[in-house]
């Protein structure tokens, strides 16, 4: 028995050695370009982006449902640590049912555009959006700042990072429910609005500091690529099917036209013509509409609340070009941890990875809304075995979860588990 096992192992190793020498150079280069995941790029528009005290405050805020109008929805409601910081639902469900699928935020600090339509250009400004969105948390910045100011642990943590909070105890000056677009907000003085907004922005910057710690963990794919990099390629890490799958992924299937780089995403926008989840619903505007919102946002990287409005990062919104092809275009999702982020596509149209791959294989049901949809997207016409190999490969992109301490409310803030 021992002899048989040893012989079998030797045969396997020989087979793998043989296959290792057969890896085409472009496939090898593609593998090396997609791993490891580096540290997130610096964000000079947030001066506390890597401040440990801000990270802890941000973590507390992330798990705190008191930022919502009903005091029962937090960031973690949709970005559930137990579900790879997604929610497992077709579309988000906060205070109301939303319209888009919740993306994982593992690795979110690598994105140059936030939200699926790119309507934010920094992670701190993204973090502020759901708090005041009636579909999500329905809060108001004045109430949020008042809550933080009146909660000793949070107020102390905030003061340590940003200095004193404004005195917002006077409800005549700082009315309940006051946020842009409300009569209460319009009734406030410009100075009071600025004071509230400044603190509100700093809460977003704290949440970004926490979210920057939520990196995709090392996956089997990363371990396999490391073996290639070390000139000791070990296909047993992935298995033969996944190696075949990666060869397709980086080669004939053309997946790496969009899913490339360490995040397996080009971080940009494409319209694949995914059939709508609800044909009666208005079509998503995608990047076209998202860019309009970005231009109108007071929280842009080159705006008044940025800590580096002249930085190269801040230039990007002004330098973005929007053309007809961006109408309906959705940000390319990362494939890191994709096995744990079902359902898929921007409105959860596909329940399984198999369904996703079937769509790419046939493009059945594709909706072409204009002539500028991705011209290179053609049916793959792969065999069932090849599709299975592709799926086996993308399942190797699951990484170790973040440290346990990052997956729960921090101690000392009195915040319960979601």
């Amino acid at each position: 028995m021992k002899y048989t096992t040893t012989a079998s192992l030797a045969a396997t190793l020989l087979a793998m050695q043989a296959s290792a020498s057969a890896m085409p150079p472009p496939i090898k280069r593609a593998a090396l370009s997609a791993s490891p995941v580096p540290q997130p790029p610096e964000n000079p528009t947030n001066r506390v982006a890597d401040d440990p005290a801000a990270q802890q405050l941000g973590q507390a805020l992330f798990f705190d449902p008191n930022l919502s109008s009903t005091r029962d929805v937090s960031c973690a409601t949709c970005h559930d640590p137990a579900r790879a910081f997604g929610d497992g639902k077709a579309v988000a469900e906060g205070l109301q049912t939303g319209t888009v699928n919740t993306p994982t935020i593992l690795g979110t600090a690598h994105h140059r555009w936030l939200f699926l339509d790119g309507r934010a250009d920094t992670l701190w400004s993204q973090a502020l959006g759901p708090i005041e969105n009636d579909l999500e948390m329905g809060g108001a910045r004045t109430d949020v700042v008042r809550y933080v100011a009146s909660t000793p642990h949070l107020a102390r943590a905030f003061t340590e990072v940003f200095g004193s909070l404004p005195d917002v105890s006077d409800e005549a000056r700082f009315p309940e429910g006051a946020r842009p677009g409300t009569p209460q907000w319009d009734a406030m003085t410009e100075q009071d609005r600025a004071a509230v907004t400044r603190s509100f922005v700093n809460l977003g910057k704290s949440i970004e500091a926490y979210e920057r710690l939520l990196q995709p963990g090392e996956s089997d794919f990363d371990r396999w690529v490391a073996s290639i990099r070390n000139e000791a390629r070990d296909d047993s890490i992935l298995g033969e099917a996944a190696v075949r799958g990666f060869t397709l992924f980086a080669g004939d299937a053309g997946c790496m036209r969009c899913h490339f780089g360490p995040m397996l995403s080009d971080l940009e926008f494409h319209d694949l013509g995914i059939p709508p989840r609800d044909p009666a619903a208005p079509p998503m505007q995608g990047r076209g509409g998202g860019y309009s919102k970005l231009r109108a946002s007071e929280f842009r990287a080159d705006g008044p609340w940025s800590d580096a409005a002249e930085s190269s990062k801040a230039r990007r919104a002004a330098a973005a070009r929007i053309g007809p092809e961006h109408w309906g275009a959705i940000r390319t999702p990362t494939l890191r941890n994709v096995a744990h982020t079902a359902p898929y596509m921007h409105a959860g149209q596909f329940a399984t990875l198999s369904e996703v791959l079937q769509f790419y294989n046939t493009l059945d049901g594709q909706v072409r809304r204009h002539s500028h949809a991705e011209a290179v997207l053609v049916p793959l016409n792969l065999s069932d075995a090849q599709l299975a190999d592709l799926e086996t490969f993308v399942r190797t992109l699951s990484g170790d979860p973040p440290a346990d301490a990052l997956r729960h409310p921090p101690e000392g803030f009195g915040i319960s588990e979601p």
Binding site: S33, G261, R316, A319, A320, R321, S371
Partner: protein, 138 residues
């Protein structure tokens, strides 16, 4: 000026350029002629680096007039992916830094594949001359 930038072999290998001849140090010092042969466009990335998909970079362009001394009136740059039927996702800012030189900011060839760069030079009479160069990013 001698480039001191060390190009990693892997990155150098990812750059596949067709249809032009290198004119200077570094992997991205290139030149191309306008279709009528009047202008030679010399360009390079600064700081010197290989062309890599989805990276923002700056380019320095210098234009040689091979049929006289008059400097160009205007210069424009663009890049498109013909097979994809789209161009860049950025608006390139071209700043004139001398009579015959421009600095291009916010260039980003955001996908792997074949890109066609176009360099449009407007001469002293207002006539446009085009040079193009195909680069394939892996």
């Amino acid at each position: 000026m001698q480039s001191t930038h060390a190009v990693p072999p892997l990155l150098a290998a990812t750059l596949l350029i067709s249809g032009c001849v290198s004119t200077g140090p570094g992997t991205t010092h290139r030149s191309t002629m306008t279709e009528d042969g009047r202008y030679r466009i010399n360009w390079h990335i600064t700081p010197d680096a290989p062309l890599t998909p989805n990276e923002y970079f700056e380019m320095i362009v210098t234009i040689e007039n091979r049929q006289g001394d008059a400097p160009p009136q205007e210069f424009r740059f663009d890049a498109t992916m013909p097979a994809h039927r789209h161009g860049m996702n950025t608006l390139v800012t071209a700043t004139r830094t001398g009579e015959t030189s421009w600095r291009l900011q916010d260039v980003n060839l955001h996908m792997p594949g074949e890109w066609v760069m176009t360099f449009d030079v407007t001469d002293e009479r207002g006539v446009m001359h085009r040079a193009s160069e195909t680069v394939t990013l892996e």
